[in-house]
């Protein structure tokens, strides 16, 4: 018995069309367009001030865009106030009503629409059940832990069967261990309910762990979007390469068949469009060898090595190459060896 089972059918495509938002002189969003599919776990990722929260608030109806439209299933929501949108939000602060019990908090969105008491009870019970909150139904918010509050906020939004659930940094108040747990639960819940989730976060690990697709944002515009592996493996820009995980950037000049860098010539998987520019390689894609590799080899010396248990991290000279490799054998500072930068691991960045 699931009250939101038919959400798979009703949840629809959400279009963000050229949305512009200014606050006084500052431009928070400079014409952002997005297409979010039904049943998708979509993440708006970016550093603070990139406009991700503003975009979420515009979708929720808590903020009006200066230009552009928000369209859900072909219906224009742009001018609709928040209380008339089939969209619910989990706030960063959770914003639980402090004077209402967990039960009444969850029932709030149902009662405000004057739903029949029997239906209210059924849905609240369901909400309590899927988020394992039955035991806490009578408690007040201040009697709950951070994780429990977050589950109440989630239940309070979900029982309304929104077509889109918006989550504004919902895990920022949780400690690291709990956060990892909640990420998995959130992902499972979203798949089980088949709802469209839009998550806002600045945490790239979190984005990678839960999302079907990620939109990376930077100062009011969309930098790149795609599945987590697309964005991670094929960052288009330097910002994308550095924001999602660590990246080594190598600058050089284009030459026939490759790239001329400070330490030699690299073979590239594709010819860059620029004359002079950068390529990126992830630390874990750099291979260490005892003998000179056939191509893209570099004689290096270990400048610094950090043992991290499951792996080790090292910085190599020359050109401060950062690598990540298995913990054995241990690298020693001063040790000399060969590094291979496989062509298929090199990503040509746009200038």
């Amino acid at each position: 018995m699931t009250v939101v089972a038919d959400a798979k059918q009703v949840g629809g495509t959400l279009s963000v069309e050229r949305v512009v938002k200014r606050f006084g002189e500052a431009t928070a969003l400079g014409g952002v367009s997005l297409e979010i599919k039904a049943g998708e776990f979509f993440t708006l990722l970016g550093p603070s001030g990139c406009g991700k929260t503003t975009l979420l608030r515009i979708i929720a109806g808590l903020e009006l865009p200066d230009q552009g439209r928000i369209v859900l299933l072909g219906k224009d929501l742009t001018g609709l106030p928040a209380n008339q949108r089939p969209v619910n939000t989990v706030f960063q602060s959770y914003a639980l009503f402090p004077h209402l019990s967990v039960y009444e908090n969850i029932a709030f969105g149902l009662r405000s629409r004057r739903m029949a008491p029997a239906e209210v009870e059924r849905r609240v019970k369901y909400g309590l059940e899927i988020l394992q909150l039955e035991k806490f139904a009578a408690r007040l918010p201040h009697q709950l832990s951070g994780g429990q509050k977050q589950r109440v906020a989630l239940a309070r939004a979900l029982v309304n069967e929104p077509q889109v659930l918006l989550l504004d940094e919902p895990m920022s108040a949780l400690d690291a261990k709990l956060r990892a747990e909640v990420q998995i639960q959130l992902r499972r819940l979203q798949q089980q309910l088949g709802l469209t989730f839009i998550l806002v976060t600045h945490d790239q690990d979190e984005a990678m762990a839960v999302s079907d697709r990620i939109a990376l944002m930077r100062v009011g515009h969309l930098e790149q979007s795609g599945t987590p592996d697309e964005v991670y493996e094929h960052p288009r820009t330097r910002f994308a390469a550095e924001f999602l995980g660590a990246a080594n950037l190598l600058r050089g000049k284009r030459v026939p068949g490759g790239l001329e860098v400070s330490f030699g010539r690299l073979i590239l998987p594709q010819t860059p469009a620029w004359e002079e520019g950068s390529v990126a390689i992830r630390p874990e894609r750099v291979q260490l060898r005892d003998t000179e590799p056939r191509q893209n080899g570099l004689r290096v010396r270990v400048r610094e090595a950090v043992y991290r248990g499951a792996y080790q991290e090292a910085w190599l000279e020359p050109c401060d190459l950062r690598i990540r490799t298995g913990p054995h054998p241990a690298l020693r500072v001063g040790q000399e060896l060969w590094a291979e930068l496989p062509p298929q691991a090199l990503v040509v960045l746009e200038e």
Binding site: L62, A82, N83, V87, T89, H99, F108, S112
Partner: protein, 262 residues
């Protein structure tokens, strides 16, 4: 931990004594059998009994209570609305600063200035309607004018501490404004509203200056009665009456403080 100089403690105690001894003296004298002078002549509660049999005093007490209750009700409603409007309407930064000053001004304006202004205003209004003849109505209006700012300030500080998240959460959860006000805003503001109302009530109960200037011949209040009687000589009945008013005020202030702290 710093050891406090014993002198500081002594000064503090002396200061407190200075503040409370006159009240204590009056409270003690209100139980003194002596009618004139300060000599202790045995304990009695006669003065309190007589107080309750004095028709003039009872009439004044009734007026004081009606005045305090009605003006507090009006000021609480208006002050609460004012606080919500000042705090939640998207004013510009500049106009918000001005509005803040406007709200504080009545609190620091000397009562006598406000009283004179009211006399002038009512004088002008009498040209339009006889409603503004000095009496209970003009007194109520006068009290409301100084009570509003106190209510608004108390309610506003409570509003500030609530933040705006709850407004947004309620809107996100399909609540229209009136549902939000009934179900979220008023319940959460209640301690602030009650505290503001109690403060306003106390101020009205004790007010002399505004009442003196706006009262009519039939609207004597307790403070006005005490003032008139004292000119004829202080009697133990006045001591008893003052003690009762003081007690009522203390109780209200304590209750108001308890609610604000919650």
């Amino acid at each position: 931990m710093h050891r406090l100089n014993p002198l500081v403690r002594t000064v503090a105690l002396v200061t407190l004594a200075f503040l409370y001894l006159p009240m204590l003296a009056i409270a003690i004298l209100s139980f003194n059998r002596t009618r004139y002078g300060l000599q202790w002549n045995g304990f009695t509660t006669d003065w309190y009994t007589r107080l309750l049999q004095n028709a003039e005093i009872l009439e004044a007490a009734r007026n004081t209570l009606v005045l305090a209750v009605v003006s507090t009700l009006v000021a609480t409603v208006l002050g609460t609305l004012l606080a919500i409007a000042l705090e939640r309407y998207p004013w510009g930064r500049r106009s918000r600063g001005w509005l803040d000053n406007l709200l504080y001004l009545p609190v620091v304006t000397p009562d006598i200035i406000l009283a004179v202004a009211l006399v002038v205003a009512f004088g002008a209004l009498r040209a339009i309607s006889t409603l503004f003849e000095p009496g209970l109505l003009t007194m109520i209006l006068g009290h409301v004018t100084f009570q509003i700012a106190f209510v608004a300030l108390t309610v506003r500080s409570r509003l500030k501490s609530l933040g705006r998240d709850l407004d947004e959460a309620a809107r996100d959860l399909y609540a229209d404004y009136s549902y939000f006000v009934r179900r979220v805003l008023l319940p959460l503001l209640a301690p602030g509203i009650v505290a503001g109302a109690m403060l306003a009530f106390t101020l009205s109960l004790d007010d002399f200056v505004i009442s003196f200037f706006t009262a009519g011949p039939t609207s004597q209040t307790l403070p006005l009665f005490i003032y008139a009687s004292v000119r004829r000589g202080v009697t133990p009945e006045i001591h008893a009456l003052s003690t009762l008013i003081f007690l009522a005020t203390v109780l209200l202030v304590l209750a108001s403080e308890r609610l604000t702290r919650r």
